[in-house]
């Protein structure tokens, strides 16, 4: 690792309080060396990272089961919006026009045009939700 004095000093002077006592006892150079070793070891650790917890297909599948088992209208309306978006995507093939909020699920369902394009969103029936479950089952069985 290249020693860059100004950057290393930045780290050194932002040292945790735990080091402050020793710093007072004139062990500055010792701790600089020790810290450099710590950072050599830490190279490749998390830096500027993003922890994604992606909306997963299983959750949407459970929403469908809720609709079928207990007639949950909130989830049914949610799927109405999702199907409408998916139908638009299938027609336009313009990914940028899809709302970002549910892009993952819309993109997934767009792989099943034979099912999605035949659904009437103004007149959703139990059979439509049954057919949607098939779109998820294929994904889930592939994942397993």
């Amino acid at each position: 690792m290249e020693y860059k004095p100004y950057l290393f000093d930045l780290f050194f002077y932002s040292l945790p309080i735990a080091y402050s006592k020793e710093r007072k006892s004139n062990n500055v150079e010792y701790f600089k060396e020790e810290l450099l070793e710590i950072y050599k070891l830490k190279i490749g650790a998390m830096y500027f990272a993003v922890n994604q917890d992606i909306q997963n297909i299983e959750t949407y599948s459970s929403f469908l089961n809720e609709i079928l088992n207990s007639g949950n209208t909130y989830y049914a309306n949610l799927f109405r919006e999702i199907i409408e978006e998916t139908q638009k995507l299938i027609t336009s093939n313009d990914y940028y026009s899809v709302s970002s909020k549910r892009f993952a699920i819309v993109k997934h369902l767009s792989q099943f045009p034979e099912i999605i394009t035949t659904i009437d969103i103004n007149n959703l029936k139990k059979e439509d939700f049954d057919r949607l479950i098939a779109c998820f089952d294929k994904h889930l069985s592939a994942a397993n």
Binding site: M1, E2, K4, Y6, L7, F8, D9, L10, F11, Y13, S14, L15, P16, I17, Y39, K42, I43, G44, A45, M46, Y47, F48, A49, V50, N51, Q52, D53, I54, Q55, N56, T59, Y60, S62, F63, E66, N72, Y74, Y75, L78, Y95, Y96, V98, S100, K101, R102, F103, A104, K107
Partner: protein, 347 residues
């Protein structure tokens, strides 16, 4: 999964919620969010889990986890704990990309010195909010943007430029910029991930120039390509190209895709300012948001160079570190006060 363990989990949550009840926030939206967590807890507390199916228990566990994470971040974002000045700068940048007032930046402080990261759970995972609304009839008006940062660097304004990169991740995922681009270009998962990192680097450099490159080149010096991150050198190079107006395939792809997804362009959003005030040990008066973001570049430029005015006074390196951080903090804080003051001046 047994109902008794879900009940244990809920009791643990209760302990944490009891402690957080007295939290005070500068931002009333956090109070609103916190109140919803309390309502959700009350609803969970009414449930007898004995008759629950395994699926319902798993779902309940997830909802309890959701509450736990929310409380953790709210606890770290109270009036006393939150690093106000840096969060204020990030909020200004965020408002340029999303002016819905829906998103609140919250922070969690960790012991790891390299722990700069962004978590999507409370900001972009709509399925949680869907479940809570459908099952408990509780609607959250706001979402929390969770940013993790090292506890010992929370007031370090040189290191914290990295948080602009983390905000870039949020904007990317909020608008699915690189996801849509990746679908359109049929990129592999690794390539998509690289585009996401490049986007966040470029996003940050709109506001802070090369400042986060300096830090990246230290904590990830010479790192090669990995599954999740492109090499450090390629990240630094793409920022150079963006700032100097040069062309590059990936850069051009991102510049093309960003307005299509967000309606906003990737462009310079900073206004380079003089370092004369800092050399004279006084905070800089900032006249615009562009100047506000540029204060970090002033700090970095002075940290990396020799300051004759400091040397004359025999300022030690540690004193220099403290002085620069204090000057950045005071400059931002003065801007915050003036903004508030001006908003109340009757014209």
């Amino acid at each position: 999964m047994s109902p008794e363990l879900v009940t244990l989990h809920l009791s643990q949550l209760q302990k944490s919620i009891e402690k957080s009840k007295t939290n005070k926030y500068a931002d009333s939206r956090k109070r609103d969010y916190h109140d919803n967590i309390l309502k959700l807890f009350d609803e969970l507390n009414k449930i007898d889990f004995l008759g629950f199916s395994a699926d319902s228990l798993v779902l309940t566990k997830k909802i309890i986890d959701f509450c736990f994470v929310s409380v953790e971040f709210l606890d770290n974002s109270t009036l006393v704990n939150i690093p106000h000045e840096i969060v204020y700068c990030l909020e200004k940048a965020l408002n340029e990309w999303d002016d819905t007032n829906q998103y609140i930046i919250v922070t969690s402080l960790h012991n790891d010195l390299n722990c700069f990261s962004f978590n999507t759970l409370l900001s972009l995972n709509e399925t949680y909010y869907d479940i809570i609304k459908a099952v408990f009839s509780i609607s959250f008006n706001h979402r929390l943007i969770q940013i993790n940062l090292p506890k010992y660097l929370s007031q370090d304004y040189l290191a914290n430029v990295v948080l602009y990169h983390e905000l870039g991740h949020f904007v990317d995922l909020r608008y699915q910029i690189t996801e849509k681009l990746s679908t359109a270009l049929n990129l592999s998962e690794t390539e998509r991930s690289y585009y996401g990192e490049f986007f966040s680097d470029i996003f940050a450099s709109q506001y802070i120039g090369e400042a986060s490159n300096y830090y990246l080149d230290y904590i990830a010096y010479n790192d090669p390509d990995s599954l999740s991150h492109p090499s450090t050198n390629s990240r630094i190079e793409i920022v150079h190209k963006f700032l100097s107006g040069k062309s590059d395939k990936i850069l051009d792809d991102l510049k093309d895709a960003t307005p299509k997804s967000t309606g906003k362009e990737l462009r310079n959003r900073r206004n380079v300012i003089s370092d004369a005030d800092f050399r004279n040990f006084i905070p800089t008066i900032l006249n615009s948001e562009e100047e506000l973001h540029s204060i970090f570049e002033v700090g970095w430029s002075l940290w990396q160079g020799k300051i004759s005015e400091f040397e004359v006074k025999n300022i030690t390196k540690y004193e220099k570190y403290q002085i620069l951080n204090n000057l950045i903090e005071k400059s931002i804080s003065n801007y915050m006060i003036l903004e508030k003051w001006n908003s109340y001046v009757p014209y």
